[in-house]
């Protein structure tokens, strides 16, 4: 009975925290420097049909938006702004009364004009974070929250490394990411496994898997003379594209190799614990069995992650009269190569993790 009461209070607290967070995020305009406008009135104009040269039919509507500024020096002032949206909403948006938007206010002679800069989305992002944490807590209790710590630490580290890369601005910035990959691995492993022999074995396996896969990739690129690799198609590239691509690949590769190596090594250590007499050969075979099971699903995870990113762009290419081959080459091939590199990393880490763990465990007796 007491347990039930405790759960009830806990549930109430969780719901209350969600409500408070929601109320806070819809009223947090005072935290932002950029002016935020609350839309109080929307007047929809006429909708016109448009057709482009590829016979794509769409509709365009204009809106007259009135709103109040919520923060900064223009607080409580009223502004009118114009907006157009298309039916497909490729880069525009249909606004409704009550929505919050970031705006830029310009001084034009003695008149002030306003333009919408972007939509306020922090509420939804933070509420989703909250939901994730709550579920994690409900299903796993405090254990679950601990597993998120390593992700948060990695995220902070990642931001620091990006900052270093931009600050130092050296030509061979790939080195920064290669070294940071080693730091990422060490940090995550110590947090998840703890500082012991198992951690060292896993680290060695990951290092071998990642480094060898990368080496193979570089050799393959050199042998084929980068044929079909459109590094210039890399989104948002502001640095040497090939190095950027390799850096990104190392980070993606690391995650999967880490996943596979930890699974294998921890299973073998567990096996040794429950069956002290297990032989080297048995250990190695078990490691390979585990590897076999996880290899397929793991590479599929990556395929789906990388592929999802290309959906919108690929559809844009198709709709504007590009061929299958051209669209594939320019929107999907880089993501696919990243998946292939990670896949190679996984296949390499399976035997190496099994071998290293089996050897390390043999040394015990």
């Amino acid at each position: 009975m007491r347990l039930k009461k405790k759960n009830f209070i806990l549930g109430l607290l969780i719901i209350l925290s969600g409500g408070l967070l929601y109320l806070f995020t819809i009223n947090d305009a005072f935290l932002y420097k950029q002016p935020i406008m609350r839309i109080t009135h929307v007047e929809n104009g006429k909708t016109v049909g448009i057709v482009d040269e590829f016979k794509n039919h769409d509709q365009q509507t204009s809106q007259r938006i009135t709103g109040n500024i919520l923060n900064g020096e223009h607080k409580n002032e009223k502004f009118k702004v114009h907006n157009t949206y298309t039916k497909s909403r490729g880069m525009d948006q249909k606004f409704h009364v009550g929505q919050l938007v970031f705006v830029n206010i310009y001084q034009k002679k003695d008149k002030q004009t306003v333009s919408i800069s972007h939509y306020k989305r922090d509420t939804y992002l933070l509420m989703l974070c909250w939901l994730t944490l709550v579920l994690l807590f409900v299903v796993m209790r405090s254990n679950g929250l601990r597993s998120i710590v390593s992700v948060i630490l990695n995220f902070i580290l990642f931001l620091i490394i990006v900052q270093l890369d931009v600050m130092w601005n050296i030509t061979s910035f790939f080195g920064i990411y290669a070294i940071s990959a080693i730091v990422f691995t060490a940090l995550t492993l110590v947090l998840v496994i703890g500082w012991n022999k198992q951690c060292l074995v896993t680290f060695a396996a990951i290092f071998f898997g990642t480094a060898t896969a990368l080496l193979i990739t570089v050799i393959a690129m050199w042998l084929t003379d980068d044929k079909g690799m459109h590094y210039e198609a890399l989104d948002f590239a502001t640095q040497a594209p090939k190095q950027l691509f390799l850096s990104a690949s190392v980070i993606g590769l690391l995650g999967t190799v880490m996943d596979a190596a930890t699974d294998i090594v921890s299973t073998l250590f567990e096996l040794k614990r429950s069956q002290a007499t297990v032989s080297f050969k048995q250990l190695f075979e078990s490691g390979r069995q585990v590897g076999k099971k996880i290899m397929g699903p793991l590479i599929n995870v990556l395929l789906l992650i990388f592929f999802a990113e290309t959906f919108t762009l690929a559809i844009l290419y198709f709709r504007t009269g590009n061929s299958f081959g051209y669209t594939f080459e320019w929107t999907m091939s880089l993501g696919l190569v990243q998946t292939l590199i990670s896949g190679i990393g996984i296949t390499l880490v399976i035997p190496s993790a099994s071998l290293l763990a089996a050897t390390a465990l043999r040394g015990d007796d």
């Binding site: 980070i251 959906f311 559809i315």
Partner: protein, 255 residues
């Protein structure tokens, strides 16, 4: 020969060397999944409703990922059922949140890449982002479902007199181990894919507030969050289904 073809050959070879025939199956399932995804894009571009096509593709991909390479045993069925259940729940979550957050289409940071295009191409970008979100969470849950189901099956076989409560506890333990690493895989997968974007945002001296509200950052982070939520749900669902099945079997045996 292009770099991609060479790397594909290397991957196929390595998969065969390390895992023999089951490696080859995994490789084939990868190829089939790729073809399915490609067809999905072509169909959506051709005007077929995006969410319906993706739902169908999603089920096909799940079936292929789960059943190929894993011999069709009882626990595989449970893993499949659990992923379908969680996928349905995720769709119910994703559709309203994506509608509210308005992260479809392209962002201001994309503009250089797409400036040659006219974006009024008569497709529903919101439906497209919903489909891609659902599909990208699928891979992660399929993997976790198999791992939990086969782990618990192993425990039931080794210790046939295990109590339901103990089995539930084991499910949690296995789930905890899987989760920590899956989170990292998702995290690195996403940042690996978006390294260039982060460098750009940093160079533009984006403030923390900008990160929290910009379309491109919010949509990428939400992808990882959806996947995490789905993984948590799948661990719980799979172990509950395994417990339920064991309870049902015992009831049947005692009669």
């Amino acid at each position: 020969m292009t770099t991609m073809i060479l790397l594909t050959c290397i991957l196929a070879l390595f998969m065969f060397i390390t895992s023999g025939r089951s490696g080859l199956y995994s490789f084939i399932s990868l190829v089939i999944n790729f073809i399915l995804l490609f067809i999905t894009i072509v169909l959506i571009a051709g005007g077929v409703p995006a969410i319906a096509v993706s739902f169908f593709t999603g089920i096909c991909i799940l079936a292929i990922t789960i059943y190929m390479g894993n011999s069709g045993e009882n626990e595989t069925d449970i893993a499949f059922l659990a992923t379908i259940l969680v996928m349905s729940v995720m769709i119910v979550l994703i559709i309203p949140v994506e509608h509210l957050a308005q992260v479809q289409g392209f962002s201001n940071e994309d503009s250089e890449e797409i400036e040659a295009f006219n974006l009024a191409i008569g497709v529903n970008f919101e439906a497209i982002i919903i489909s891609t979100t659902v599909l990208s969470t699928l891979g992660a849950i399929a993997e976790a479902a198999i791992a939990v189901a086969s782990g618990l099956q192993e425990i039931i076989e080794q210790k046939p007199d295990i109590t339901l409560q103990e089995l539930r506890k084991s499910g949690q333990n296995i789930g905890y181990q899987i989760m920590g690493m899956t989170f990292n895989t998702l995290f690195f997968g996403m940042f690996g894919g978006n390294l260039a974007l982060f460098i750009l945002l940093y160079k533009l001296q984006a403030t923390f507030g900008y990160y929290l509200n910009s379309k491109v950052f919010v949509s990428e982070t939400m992808l990882v969050l959806y996947a995490s939520i789905a993984v948590i749900l799948i661990i719980w669902t799979t172990s509950e289904l395994m417990v339920y099945r064991l309870a049902k079997q015992r009831k049947k045996n005692s009669k």
